[in-house]
Assembly symmetry: C2
Homo-oligomer: 127 residues x 2
Amino acid sequence: MTPQRRLVLDAVSSLGHATPDEVLVRVREQASGVNASTIYRSLELLEELGLVRHSHLGSGPSTWHAASHSGHLHLVCRSCGSVTEVDVSLAADLVGRLERDTGFKSDMEHFGVQGTCADCLAAARDA
Amino acid sequence: MTPQRRLVLDAVSSLGHATPDEVLVRVREQASGVNASTIYRSLELLEELGLVRHSHLGSGPSTWHAASHSGHLHLVCRSCGSVTEVDVSLAADLVGRLERDTGFKSDMEHFGVQGTCADCLAAARDA
DNA sequence: CTTACTGCAAATATTTTGCATTTGG
DNA sequence: CCAAATGCAAAATATTTGCAGTAAG
């Protein structure tokens, strides 16, 4: 565990859902010389070690979070970009049915669920 | 509706889930001079017109399909890359619960569900 | 020492944009 | 003719890779 890798892990842990670029910015607040490729390589390594995970929440870059911070679905609002977390158990029904019907074992955490959040729906109603 | 746009629509319709690059290749079989930027611009326009849609099935480029060909979830196998379609109604339970609990209105079609397909699970068991 | 890690620069891959040319109404 | 669409080239974005220098065991 090098200093750079520790900084990457700390950044991911404190940022929540961070893109590699956001991690880079945070890491550089602590150590200015760190390069983007080190971020990518560290994230990959930390994922192999099971310390962090990545998810695809939208069309942009993937986001990373600490492995300890898992067990939830990501609800991604297309309108305002907000990301809401809900317990992954809410999808247990769907996951179970998919497995029974097609034999497919789903990982609902890896991708975000796109849609529109309550606030944006309300704003659209008011407009 | 220009000749290029018609070719793009035809390509999307016949290819199923195609990336912009796959659409380009198909279009060039009919008209060799077509440029990639025309593909992107045509897809965008056709989506505004409601004739095609795009989904994010994995970490790579988005894929496009005819609007007539919708109403299903995409089950994307991480292991072999296969894409299985199942009726979107299977997710009605989850969608309803998310809306009731958090006010979030989900579009389950827009993102693929990652996981492992039955074949790859079987292969892993045999190995 | 020597193996592994890092920074740097360049290469990839994907998508977007500006602009001159062409096309179709 | 005029407005819109296209092709082309370059820019923008995101990520990966080769390589040489650095650092830690």
